[in-house]
């Protein structure tokens, strides 16, 4: 876990006021994008559009990105979030189709997804393989398993009589998926920002040598981090088939790049350029809003990809440049 994504932090010149100023750039950019689309994109600021954006685009990516936040906070990365998501979705669909109820299918899915995390934890904490290569290996093995179980990548549909409508359930008028995101964000966010484990994760991620010499149980922390990441993805793996009524092999990988992007966008929002859960959620929202707005002003899906690429690149450039300028 000594590989750290945090940039070296040379002494800053600008001091606290400069840092505070830099910190304002991202929110300003976010506000500007929102304002631009509110004015320019027809139908952007309608309840229908915004709620569909939240429910259809935000929820799944947010859940995966919250898990990714832990992996990156600890100085690693989790390339196998898609594997955990897919395993969970596959198990959920198979259990429901086999006639088990939700009370079996949901824990079953969560367990299957978390197994990917347990496997990562064994590789990273047990065999001390770097998170990048370990999760890459898990990704390969995971896609092998899925291809074998799905006849080379055929979707498995939920049979009509077991479709639960779970994803359109509401509690006190709030859609269940949004409540789940809120709950997950609350638990993961509070633990990372206020909990003992959170502090240990951040030390391990930003100052691996300090973590080592102060005798932190690095392996235990790393194992917990990757299980936590996989558990979040497993939750998304329950919601995805509950929404589209099918398991599509290897569909989880689609979230990988955007989840990483969102975490780093989120980091630019924090005073110390630290990854954090609320920032990640804003990062996800930023990506969603941009894609949705571009769509509404008539850009097709292909140009949205380019724009997203440019956006993530500029945010990263900004984040790392400001860290060098403003880091103290």
């Amino acid at each position: 876990m000594s590989d750290s994504l945090s940039a070296p932090q040379p002494a800053g010149l600008t001091g606290l006021s400069g840092r505070a100023l830099l910190r304002l750039v991202m929110p300003t950019l976010f506000a500007a994008v929102l304002l631009f689309f509110a004015l320019k994109a027809p139908g952007f600021l309608t309840v229908g559009n915004l709620s569909s954006l939240l429910l259809n685009n935000f929820v799944l990516l947010a859940i995966v990105a919250i898990g990714m936040t832990y992996a990156i906070a600890a100085g690693g990365i989790d390339l196998s979030v898609g594997t955990a998501l897919d395993f969970s979705a596959l198990t959920f669909v198979l259990l429901l189709n086999a006639g088990f109820g939700l009370y079996v299918a949901i824990p079953g899915g969560l367990l299957a997804g978390s197994l990917a995390g347990l496997f990562n934890a064994g590789l990273i904490a047990g065999l001390r393989i770097s998170p990048f290569l370990a999760t890459l290996g898990t990704l390969f093995i995971g896609s092998n398993v899925q291809k074998l179980l799905s006849d080379g990548g055929q979707p498995i549909y939920l049979e009509a009589q077991v479709r639960s409508g779970l994803a359109s359930e509401r509690l006190l008028g709030v859609p269940l998926p949004l409540l789940l995101v809120a709950l997950l964000a609350l638990v993961y966010g509070v633990v990372l920002a206020r909990g003992r484990l959170g502090r240990e994760i951040i030390v391990l991620g930003s100052q691996p040598l300090v973590a080592r010499y102060s005798g932190l149980a690095q392996r235990r922390i790393a194992a917990l981090v990757f299980i936590a990441s996989a558990f979040a993805s497993a939750l998304a793996g329950i919601l995805l088939p509950a929404t589209v009524n099918a398991y599509a092999p290897m569909s989880g990988n689609a979230f990988l790049m955007n989840a990483i992007g969102a975490v780093f966008i989120g980091a630019t929002l924090s005073l110390h350029n630290r990854v954090n859960v609320p920032g990640t959620l804003l990062g996800v929202l930023f990506l969603n809003v941009t894609a949705n707005g571009l769509l509404l002003i008539g850009w097709n899906f292909f140009w949205q990809q380019v724009a997203t690429g440019v956006l993530i690149l500029s945010v990263l450039l900004f984040s790392f440049a400001s860290r060098r300028l403003g880091a103290g």
Partner: protein, 327 residues
């Protein structure tokens, strides 16, 4: 970065022997197993076909290896180029569209190579100029390049033929298909460049001991910049192979990325000193090619290739203790 050759868990001499020779022994065992079980495996024509089929992945993996040599093999802070597969996709699309639009060979080929070089330059600027970790930088350029490919092709296959593509796809010399020659030629040139020229030796020095290289007066940033240019160029060379193999540009080239990463890191075990090397990568490419081919001949589902690659890479890294610098 200095890396211990051994993990403490193994008896040093046995582990050393196993690590240095084990990879080749395992490769030989796999060859033997296929030779015994699949009757057509050990025919010259099948073996050169394996080489030809490996040309696309191999060229990409050479590019990645070059970047890893120059940046060091630490996955996060060292060299990495995740944009290679997207580079292939865009370069092939550029070639196919220009060729189909009636531009001559010179223009199409130059533009294709230019595309690869431009992507390499962008990566180099972001990594060397802005000092972004290569993992993140090339992840972002990968998105950008893949988006440009989508814009250009609207996510469709662009069929294309030209004498160049036909020559690559169907030509052969001394009984060896043209694509196999491309793989060997690109590999050969890069082996010479990396192992036998001052450039290559300095690139190794910079990758392993950047501070020492800097103190010795080497332009660390210049060499790293060059390594990303070479990688970009490899992407467009692979694009020619891919365009020849599929008779045009195809969609979904991004799916090759993880195989390329796996091959480049597998290549490390084929090197005597457990370092990234072009020769090692060539062997790893052939190993993966042999696995795919052998599985086909034995009628084993190709799905298993993924899993075997995954297990191999984990095995390699765990055994070599490559990442245990501080453990």
């Amino acid at each position: 970065m200095p890396m211990p050759l051994l993990s403490d868990a193994f008896h040093p001499r046995f582990a050393q022997w196993l690590l240095r020779r084990g990879a080749l022994l395992a490769f030989a065992a796999i060859l033997l197993a296929f030779a015994l079980s699949a009757p057509n495996f050990l025919t010259p024509s099948n073996l050169v076909n394996v080489l030809a089929q490996s040309a696309i992945l191999g060229s990409l993996a050479f590019g990645l290896t070059t970047v890893i040599i120059g940046g060091g093999s630490n996955v996060v802070s060292g060299g990495l180029d995740l944009s290679l597969a997207a580079n292939l996709g865009l370069s092939a699309a550029v070639y196919a569209s220009l060729n189909n639009a009636g531009f001559g060979d010179v223009v199409s080929i130059a533009a294709t190579l230019g595309t690869g070089l431009a992507i390499g330059t962008l990566n180099a600027l972001v990594v060397v100029g802005f000092r972004l970790p290569p993992l993140l930088a090339t992840l972002a350029t990968m998105n950008l390049v893949a988006g440009l490919e989508l814009v250009l092709t609207e996510n469709t296959v662009l069929p294309s033929t030209s004498p160049l593509l036909e020559g690559l796809a169907f030509g052969s010399w001394l009984g060896v298909p043209a694509l196999a020659w491309v793989l060997l030629a690109v590999g050969g040139v890069l082996i010479v460049l990396m192992q036998y020229t001052p450039f290559g030796l300095r690139l190794y020095a910079i990758g392993e001991y950047p501070e020492a290289a800097n103190a010795a007066g080497l332009s660390v940033r210049g060499y790293v910049f060059a390594s990303y240019l070479i990688s970009g160029l490899c992407g467009s060379l692979a694009a020619f192979c891919s365009a020849a193999w599929f008779s045009g540009s195809t969609t979904g080239s991004g799916e090759m990325l993880l195989s390329v990463v796996a091959i480049a890191f597998l290549g490390v075990i084929f090197s005597q000193r457990l370092q990234p090397s072009i020769g090692g990568t060539l062997l790893a490419t052939m190993l993966v090619g042999v696995l795919i081919n052998g599985f086909q001949l034995l009628n084993i589902s190709s799905f298993w290739v993924d899993g075997v690659q995954g297990v191999l890479i984990l095995l390699v890294v765990a055994l070599s203790g490559l990442r245990n610098k501080e453990a």
